[in-house]
Symmetry: C2
Subunit: 351 residues, 2 copies
DNA sequence: CTGAAAGCGCTTACAG
DNA sequence: CTGAAAGCGCTTACAG
């Protein structure tokens, strides 16, 4: 038949009621084994797939999760992070037959509006919040709406929204220890957007680690994760009178742009300059020299976030303790590659 | 109220029937101006958003479009192409309040199954087909299902599925003319996966253009769009006895990996080697030297595809001529940057 | 174990 | 211009 089959069609063919078909299809008690098998056989033969809208309307659930991305198309495209995250999310959702609804938004206001609409429409059962900011208004917003949510990034305090996050201070310390051991004493850092929480957290981690190691100078300049800014800031750092001998970048795209600038200015790596990318991606292995990076499992990060969200959704409005659900993912670790080496005119670390 | 408001709530508050509320909300005739305004005011005040599932069930439409991506998480993440495409699609869909449902699949079989399920569930009203292959089974599949679809890539012949595509031969010719003029006579090409239609089309375009220009040698080796393959094949090409003086890559990721290998082998660009990336992305501007590339508007490509799909969906099952809907997008054009220059031991083009 | 019925929240002919 | 009602395709108490 050209019309897609419904449970009514199956019921008619099997000579039972629609209710019986529903029970059989959902593996519930209430139908005999023989009837169940007959119904399932007919359903399979007809190529029956239950109508989502009807089911959603009945059970008051969308069987879908939403994610709104507030980044320009260009940043999204070039940054491997998002697709890796999304594919991790996907894995967890597919396992529970949940769909993923994606929307790209241009502003915070638009994003808030999307959440209101999605939730009002019951288009989603919950949302994943990306790029958590300092004093992020979205946390309160979703809480007020009653919209289940999980924040990716953090840690966030005093919120009812569970958070999936990575510790930033230990990997930061690991990277700086490493550079220190290589003899570097003047360090530059090209940071991310200061409004993002994870940038702020790294700022702090970087500061305290630098103080502990007693570097001669540490200069952080914030960028916006784009290659343009990465290049501009690198050019700036490398033309300072007391230029750094090593630079740490808050994302891979800026690191690669920085590498380009280093080449352009005639620096040879790692002889004249060491570069570390904070967040590893296949991009870091494509360059020459390959970039030393702080690696973490972004895919797993996405899966974990999605799993927690599903748990909250399933638990329903029964109060779930967000603190109990907040999860710290395996932390980043240093993956040394060819872009880092001894500092020029090395002051040996051991001496 | 904590419960999300329905038209029944509005009807009660306004003292009218649910039908009247529906007419008012949807801007249909059947309610007086005064009543309409009163209803709208109440709806706004209550923060009413219509339940998608209920509407979908009534109008038998999902108000959503699906896209299944059959690439590994790694390729998806690193390739700017997909996010740019998706963001273009998004723009067109948002304008019509359509949602985008995304799924990552591991195999063709899985992908076909997803289409069957989406369509059966009425989760989507149509799908966008990416990475169109040679003899692509999906085209017949969606046609058999009756699932509205638009293929991205092509051109595809003898199908009822409209296609949004780019001409490949003219840009190919443009790139080769340019390299010829720079004195290059031995050309290498690192292609994409041969099973993809656009790779096959480029193979052919490349062949005929090379014949016309009478290059000394042209070597195409197919890769899989990953950096690993791009690097491996580049290493192979550059260590051939009669190595090419210029290499064209079928995507930016392989081109960047190729650049890395060139650096590693001590080639200086563009003095010793010229590199062209087919498909431009911000990545091409990050490297040093920046990569000459064949640029095209991927974002616009996505929007166009989505717009056509919406047109088909709206037109319903009334036969639409796919040929009339197939669209050729503005073609790629050469953007020369610093990675291309005169061939070593140049045979001047003019002489 | 099974059937008949109500209900989810909309839309839309059909009467008044 | 308005109201009452049926219907979209499911799920799920409630009787038998």
């Amino acid at each position: 038949m050209s019309r897609r089959p419904t449970i009514a069609d199956i019921a008619e063919a099997a000579g039972v009621s629609k209710g019986a078909v529903s029970y059989a299809l959902n593996g519930r008690p209430g139908v005999s084994k023989a009837t169940r098998e007959k119904i399932l056989a007919i359903a399979t033969e007809m190529g029956f797939v239950p109508n989502r809208a009807a089911r959603s309307l009945s059970v008051a659930s969308a069987q879908a999760v939403g994610i709104a991305l507030r980044r320009s198309a260009r940043t999204l495209g070039i940054e491997p992070f998002f697709m890796e995250l999304i594919s991790g999310i996907e894995v967890a959702l597919s396992a529970e037959s949940y769909g993923l609804t994606l929307q790209i938004v241009g502003s915070l206001e638009e994003e808030l509006e999307v959440y209101r609409r999605w939730w009002g429409e019951r288009r989603v059962d919950g949302v994943l919040l990306c790029d958590v900011g300092v004093d992020d208004r979205r946390l309160e917003w979703v809480a007020d709406l009653g919209l289940p949510a999980v924040a990716i990034g953090g840690p966030v305090e005093n919120t009812s929204v569970p958070t999936v996050w990575n510790d930033q201070s230990e990997p930061c310390r690991e990277a700086l220890d490493y550079l220190f051991a290589l003899g570097h004493r003047r360090i530059g850092r090209v940071g991310g957007m200061p409004r993002l929480l994870h940038t702020a957290v790294r700022d702090e981690a970087f500061d305290s680690a630098s103080v502990a190691l007693n570097f001669k100078s540490v200069t952080t300049i914030h960028g916006d994760f784009t290659g343009e800014q990465g290049a501009r800031i690198t050019r700036r750092l490398l033309t300072l009178p007391e230029r750094p001998t090593a630079i740490v970048y808050d994302n891979d795209v800026m690191a690669i742009a920085g590498l380009g600038v280093a080449h352009e200015l005639g620096f040879e790596l790692p002889r004249d300059l060491s570069i570390v990318s904070w967040d590893d991606s296949p991009l870091c292995r494509l360059t020459h020299p390959a970039l030393t990076a702080l690696s973490r499992d972004i895919h797993g990060h996405g899966s974990t976030a999605a799993e927690i969200l599903l748990r909250i959704i399933t638990a329903g409005s029964t109060a779930v303790d967000p603190a109990a659900l907040s999860v710290q993912c395996p932390q980043s670790h240093l993956t040394p590659r060819a872009s880092t080496g001894s500092a020029p005119e090395s002051v040996s670390a051991g001496s």
